[in-house]
Point group: C2
Chain length 343, copies 2
């Protein structure tokens, strides 16, 4: 193949859900790696909720994507040409490659993936950014203790499913909030002590559902969603409770608007509780801790992991739109090219 | 005098500001101390914003006062009769005595005040609960570093004036928010680097005033008030910012109602910041740290302290109502009886 395909941002979705047509497929000549660069063929593309923020105009922790620019994202792939020391054709790598089938990437921006018996796609999920997010946000910010209750929203998702299992491993009682009976059943299957379906519940019913599934109250709330589910968790927070703000997906389609709703300042005071924001990039220096635990937990079956693999690079925008509607079940990845591990 | 006077709660102020008539003056025979008790004559009564919560029906960190019961509060006074070991007439003490001129109190609930050259009333303020609040909330929860900006609301009040001065002592840049030009001037006089008057400012003007007085952003926000001033601080919060919820006085007259307004979950995430509630009673075991610093700072002039002393026990309810409207200037105390130090 002598052609590179990529998705560029065509239109900003402002105050609405993204549509597949917000992205435009372009073709270009195959990139030529410069000195110090590596030509990578994308095998798996990661789709993650944070990407919604990158296509809004709202100031965030990273620069946004402008219309006409290639959409950003992590990918895992195969080196097909190398002009950098330490990389050779056939090497597996991961990095910020973007939504494109091939990319010439500076070697410093890539991480080699050593053969480890795990599917390549795992390096975009349980062994990648979502895995590190679950691990450091829960353990370092949430600090769950044995016997405590850890409540998790988006509980069958890329991060949530791992949070619940890590909490259980540490002796805490994990409770999941998920959309639909199948996802709730999956939470129970992988070791959450309890779980409930938030769909169709009004504000009071949400508070009651948290109270029912967390009879001893909530010690740690791992918040992936914000909004009224946040309120229901806060209403059940224990003395000394800790709330980790890892995502606010319920508001991702209206980032341009002020988020108004219940304040919880009085609850924080009365409960001497804390709410803290988390960003995985702050933990780059501590990856070794994660690397020491997660592959081991996966191998010995302590952690189970579910992916939602969409086949075909051209389906990337549609899969991304579905992610923000909760259509995925497990960590969402796109298979953009042949998986060398499965040839 | 053979009569004890006390204020009992006559009526709950629900969804309104308290009035002097919400309390009723009662007379009773002088209490007789039982074995293990001490009869105390109240010299100074402390009035503090938290008392507003105690006369609401909303569940909080402490039991509320029921109509007909004596109003709670700290006081400092003189032992006039003792049936407890270690106390004798003439001793000065502080404790949870309530709004009454005399009380028979179990000795275990009292703390002796050793002669130290400070006014007795200081043991209800800078050397008492408000002092410990400022000290532990700022240093332990806020953790200000040299060169950082510490923003304080209710900045000329019992707690706020100390927070600004302790922050300055630790090399931080203190900025105060206060009601009216005299209070703003006082903040500057005692060492705040800057201060502004929140009165008459709309939401946008509040954000702009914080931005103007905190040009390097806000690293620590010491929140005594909640509400729209909280929003203005959040809008200027720096990466890794810390917000201490010490009081929410802006909402104290509507505790029965849900507090709605801006959420700041996305800000917390993007800034990797934290909001944490504080209650001074959690620090009882660490009082020695405070005792080692605060009297020394007062003696060497590092800390200055302003009280608003109201004369006359019968003025207690009126002074309390004024406190919640910001009518006091400095720490509010009532002189309920002759001060033995000034005879």
């Amino acid at each position: 193949m002598t052609v590179q395909r990529r998705f560029v941002l065509a239109d900003r979705p402002t105050m609405r859900a993204p549509r597949a047509t917000d992205f435009r497929l372009e073709e270009a000549p195959m990139p030529e790696p410069k000195a110090g660069e590596v030509l990578v063929r994308t095998v798996f593309l990661s789709l993650d909720p944070y990407m919604r923020g990158r296509i809004s105009q709202v100031k965030s922790y990273a620069r946004g994507v402008e219309p006409g620019e290639t959409m950003v994202g992590e990918a895992a792939g195969e080196v097909i040409q190398s002009r950098a020391e330490g990389f050779q054709p056939g090497d597996l790598v991961r990095g910020h490659i973007g939504w494109q089938t091939h990319a010439a990437v500076p070697a410093a921006q890539l991480r080699r993936i050593a053969p480890d018996g795990f599917p390549l796609s795992y390096h975009l999920g349980v062994l990648g950014m979502p895995g590190r997010t679950a691990y450091f946000a829960l353990l370092d910010v949430g600090q769950p203790k044995a016997g405590e209750t850890v409540l998790v929203s988006a509980a069958s998702g890329a991060v949530g499913q791992l949070v619940g299992q890590i909490a259980s491993l540490k002796g805490a009682r994990a409770v999941g909030i998920a959309g639909g009976p199948a996802k709730v059943a999956y939470c129970r299957e992988i070791g959450f002590a309890d779980a409930f379906d938030y769909k169709g519940l009004d504000d009071d019913a949400l508070v009651a559902a948290v109270a029912r599934t967390c009879p001893a109250g909530v010690d740690v709330y791992f918040d992936n969603v914000g909004g009224v589910i946040h309120d229901a968790a806060m209403a059940n927070l224990n003395l000394g409770g800790r709330v980790i703000i890892c995502g606010t997906i319920s508001g991702y389609n209206r980032l341009e608007q002020q988020d108004t709703g219940r304040r919880h300042l009085r609850t924080l005071l009365v409960k001497r509780a804390r709410i803290q924001g988390f960003l995985v990039s702050d933990y780059a220096a501590r990856e070794a801790e994660f690397e020491a635990d997660m592959p081991k937990w996966l191998k010995d079956g302590s952690i189970r992991y579910r992916e939602d693999i969409v086949d075909g690079f051209e389906k990337t925008p549609e899969a991304f739109a579905g992610l923000l509607e909760g259509k995925n079940f497990g960590k969402l990845v796109v298979r953009a090219g042949a998986d060398p591990a499965r040839q």
